[in-house]
């Protein structure tokens, strides 16, 4: 941080006014969602004075939770995101450890083949993936969403880069003491890479949580849908009135908001570290 405190000038005051009015405008769509979700059906939702005045109601929330499978979709989303994240962390860290610390024939080649996968967007493989899922009977299953996500190579790249930086002496000392490779990975590399793992984990979780295109194709059974797929389906029945759809939006966003509030610092650090959308 800078030791020099900025002086109070006209410029700074204008900057304050500009920044805070801008952030207010920025948040309007979200505030509007929060408020319309608790307004009774049919109340005027574009007049500010009407918006902030009672009556307020929880009826919309009740209606959504009774008439949409929203809790089921939330559970599906949570389950898929948690399993995807756990498996991604476990498998990519094992692979990264092998590539970084165990010399073997073809190590470089394997690494480059994995890294080449960074160039392949899911969008380009939806057709073969879908046909594979149909052939193996995995359509409409959790696995159909989880498996392709685990194949993403980003984790291998990030963790290998981190593992490459762990001093050789540490490993040699452990080997002297008779530790096996498995032990070295588990008791040295995993604990040391905690912050990289956190960044990768949060990144994986959010990507899975917001994944749209692939679950949209792979899931047609309403019971197996995730929130991003179920919400538009539910809302398609409400074109004119918006209090109920907004309550659905709110319910769909609550878990993500909670994660954001809890892990804000990690999320932002993770983006800086991975730099990948």
């Amino acid at each position: 941080m800078n030791a020099v405190r900025p002086r109070v000038t006209l410029g700074r005051i204008l900057l304050y006014i500009f920044s805070y009015s801008f952030v207010l405008i920025w948040l309007i769509p979200m505030l509007w969602m929060v408020i319309t979700a608790i307004k009774p059906d049919g109340s005027p939702v574009t007049v500010l004075t009407e918006l902030i005045k009672p009556p307020f109601t929880m009826d919309n929330y009740q209606y959504v939770s009774e008439n949409a499978s929203i809790w089921r979709w939330t559970w599906n989303s949570v389950y898929i995101a948690v399993v995807t994240t756990a498996l991604t962390l476990l498998l990519t860290s094992m692979a990264a450890f092998a590539l970084s610390r165990i010399p073997f024939k073809g190590s470089k080649l394997v690494f480059w083949i994995i890294i080449a996968g960074l160039m392949v967007p899911t969008e380009a493989t939806i057709i073969p993936l879908f046909l594979m899922m149909v052939d193996s009977g995995l359509v409409n299953s959790y696995s159909s969403i989880i498996f392709p996500s685990i194949a993403a190579p980003l984790g291998v790249l990030i963790l290998k880069q981190f593992y490459d930086g762990i001093p050789k002496e540490l490993v040699e000392a452990a080997e002297m003491d008779g530790a096996s490779k498995l032990r070295i990975w588990w008791s040295i590399f995993l604990p040391l890479s905690r912050s990289s793992m956190a960044a990768l984990g949060i990144f994986t979780f959010i990507s899975s949580w917001n994944n749209f295109l692939w679950p949209f194709l792979a899931i047609s059974d309403e019971k197996m849908m995730t929130l991003p797929i179920g919400i538009p389906l539910f809302q398609s029945g409400y074109a004119a009135e918006l209090t109920i759809p907004m309550a659905a939006n709110m319910l769909a966003s609550l878990p993500a908001l909670l994660v954001f509030i809890l892990f804000q610092k990690h999320i932002i650090k993770g983006i800086t570290m991975t730099g990948i959308k």
Partner: protein
């Protein structure tokens, strides 16, 4: 681990190069190398299983499918490169590709400039910086379905927030945001900026924080004003991050699907239909899997091109 009793030298890869070490040592070394190989493959196997099954295989299978007329019911006829010829003659394909490129061209500069702007605001040491940063980033964590739904309601004629705000500002006519091609693109762009710019902001913020303060102080002493500082210190220092964001943003924009599909469904007509949506419709609605796969391959090649540019530039950065 048994250590050789004879002192040995090792080369960079750990192979024993001292000939005096003799037969005994090389046997032990061989055994060690073998067990290392086995270990490495055991560690790699679980990941590689998923990688080859869901990454490598689909790429190969996708190409094979693209050579056939292939429906979901698994009826197939070999047509060679016929599908590729067909898509190059397909006006809708070119329209979708054009739409996608158009979105890349309008959204990339907008999202880069907006990202720098927000990063500058957050980086100017105002009180409540943490709040500003969180607020700008917040929409990014919402899912595309929620974002699209909010914006469709905001932009809805007669009952939407946007038009009623514009009315109080003196705009008398009702604007149908999603009913004309230009306004629909503008709407998709607005929603996309709101949704994703926080991500770019974080990258720019990291870039800004790496610029040493002395640079600015020295410039101030030499009589530079804020614009000079921005133009001759901030912008050149951010060059690397700007390049990175441009590449990442182009890739993300090229894959546009959710926003346009959910907000306009490609409309009005087909004027906001993107390449990914056209692939989806060809494959899953008209059941032309072969044709859709050929289109995917074109998409894939474009993405590889982007990625090569990205790698080149990332390699430079290191």
């Amino acid at each position: 681990m048994v250590e050789p009793t004879v002192p040995v030298k090792k080369d960079g890869k750990g192979h024993i190069i001292d000939k005096r070490a003799g037969k005994m040592t090389s046997l032990i070394a061989n055994k060690k190398v073998l067990s290392l190989n086995l270990f490495a493959w055991l560690f790699l196997a679980p990941y590689l299983l998923f990688y080859s099954w869901f990454m490598l295989y689909p790429i190969i299978k996708g190409f094979i499918i693209s050579l056939y007329q292939w429906t979901i019911g698994n009826e197939r006829t070999y047509v060679g490169l016929g599908n590729y010829q067909a898509i190059f003659k397909d006006g809708f394909f070119w329209e979708a590709l054009g739409n996608t490129v158009y979105f890349v061209v309008i959204s990339t500069p907008a999202l880069v400039i907006a990202g720098i702007l927000l990063a500058l605001i957050v980086n100017s040491r105002l009180k409540g910086t943490g709040f500003l940063r969180s607020a700008f980033f917040l929409p990014h964590i919402l899912s595309i379905s929620v974002i699209s739904s909010i914006w469709v309601f905001v932009l809805q004629p007669y009952t939407g927030l946007m038009n009623s705000v514009l009315k109080t500002l003196g705009v008398t006519q009702e604007i149908f945001w999603l009913d004309s091609a230009n306004l629909a693109w503008l709407s998709i762009l607005l929603a996309t900026i709101w949704w994703t710019v926080g991500f770019n902001m974080v990258l720019f913020l990291a870039g800004l924080q790496e610029i040493p303060d002395d640079l600015y102080e020295a410039a101030r002493i030499d009589g530079a004003n804020s614009w000079h500082c921005f133009r001759y210190i901030t912008l050149p220092s951010l060059k690397g991050v700007i390049l990175l964001v441009v590449v990442l943003q182009s890739i993300a924009s090229f894959k546009l699907f959710g926003q346009s599909y959910l907000m306009t469904n490609g409309g009005p007509g087909t004027s906001t239909r993107t390449l990914v949506q056209y692939i989806y419709e060809t494959g899953f609605r008209t059941n032309e899997m072969g044709l859709a796969s050929a289109m995917s391959y074109v998409l894939f090649l474009v993405m590889v091109l982007f990625a090569i540019i990205q790698f080149k530039f990332m390699a430079k950065k290191d």
